[in-house]
Amino acid sequence: MGTGSIIARDLKLALRQRSDAAMIVLFFVLTAALFPFGVGPEANQLATIAPGVIWVTALLAVLLSLERLFLADYEDGSLELMALSPVPLEFTVLAKVLAHWMTTGLPLIAAAPLIAILFNMPVDALPVLALAMLLGTPTLSLIGAIGAALTLGARRGGVLVPLLVLPLYIPTLIFGVSAVDAALLGFPVRPHLLLLAGILLISLVVSPLAGAAALRQANE
């Protein structure tokens, strides 16, 4: 019940404050619409960069919102109360990540096909894109949560934190993009998706543990 109510609260907060899903989609479309200005409007070229654009934008949306994942709770004293509550802090982290993913990851996945079509991506690659994002975006939220938690307490950590966290994103991005590329070129996509799933499983274990430890430090 406790974990559930954290998810419920964070969803409510997200809906009230951050964005309706519609807003995220709007943001996604707006950002993606920038690329034709930059890269030039030729259809072929747009199609080739589409997987990259979609993944970069997803990463951006996650980063943009993760920063405040714990910060507000930290500053107003909520985090202390969560640490003291009977719900284990690991579950709290998981709950907050889940709520975060439902308000950013899910809308991103829903909007991705739209962008893909705007960028002239072949329709047969869309299922793979969606599947890859379904496996990849939770990882982004999970890993990001560690970074967000570390930045709260890490006065000493300083520059180290992003240095540690951002490289952890790279595998997800690489396999996410290459899964879609494989689909576009007709190569097998299974290995890429399996790797994405593997990364997800690992972060599902590591992130709550590391995140909770970092939060305990921050509460000092």
Binding site: S5, L13, E75, G77, S78, E80
Partner: protein, 223 residues
């Protein structure tokens, strides 16, 4: 039988020693008021009692058992009201309180909704029920934080300057709530700078536990 006690507690923050050799005992139904100048360590002590801050030395006992043996079980006995009010600007008063009381499940002798209503009533927040947190005045925010006391099943209240910003009526209500908690055998430990009417409360002057000026062993023992 003494219910909650601390022995030989010491506190260090950012390398500075704040207090040392601090001792206290609060019996069931008892109360302790923490006094001392700014920076003497009242908030630090309260955070230590809540388990948010690890003691640099000493031990806590609850019901005769050492707290560090099972800190998580001990934390179920605690309701901590710190300087921060933990109020979300976009949630209404009712939603804010409901969230916290779901996270700290109350002993369900009455339904959750009734409990929330009673808590809001206790601190005269009923008329503000659907006002979002960002529209609260400072005293109203503090009252909302205090309303958590009513919904919490905890037996030990740790209050850090609970009366800050409260008007006279609300102060009275807080004192009543404290008295009721103690009548049921609960324990209240509060830091304050302004008078708080808690009958027969023990007083703990933090300044009495300022660490010794210099101890030759300190240098040798510094890691």
């Amino acid at each position: 039988m003494p219910a909650f006690e601390g022995q030989n507690l010491a506190c260090t923050r950012a390398g500075r020693r704040i207090f040392a050799a601090l001792e206290f005992t609060v019996p069931e139904g008892g109360a302790l008021i923490l006094l001392g100048a700014n920076g003497s360590g009242k908030s630090s002590l309260l955070r230590m009692l809540a388990g948010l801050l690890a003691p640099a030395g000493g031990a806590l006992h609850w019901d005769g058992k050492a707290v560090e043996d099972d800190p998580e079980a001990f934390q179920d006995n605690i309701c901590y009201i710190g300087h921060g009010n933990a109020i979300k600007a976009v949630l209404t008063v009712h939603e804010n309180l409901a969230f916290w009381s779901k996270l700290y499940p109350p002993t369900a002798s009455e339904g959750l909704e009734e409990l929330l209503d009673r808590a809001l009533e206790t601190f005269s927040l009923t008329s503000l029920r659907d006002v979002p947190g960002r529209q609260l005045s400072s005293g109203q925010s503090r009252r909302l934080a205090l309303a958590r006391l009513v919904t919490s099943p905890a037996r030990i209240w740790l209050l850090d300057e609970p009366s800050v910003g409260l008007d006279d009526v609300s102060l009275k209500r807080l004192e009543t709530a404290i008295a009721e908690q103690r009548a049921e055998g609960g324990i209240v430990i509060a830091a304050t700078h302004t008078p708080l009417d808690i009958p027969d409360a023990g007083l703990l002057q933090l300044q009495n536990f300022a660490p010794p000026a210099f101890d030759p062993e300190m240098l040798e023992n510094s890691w």
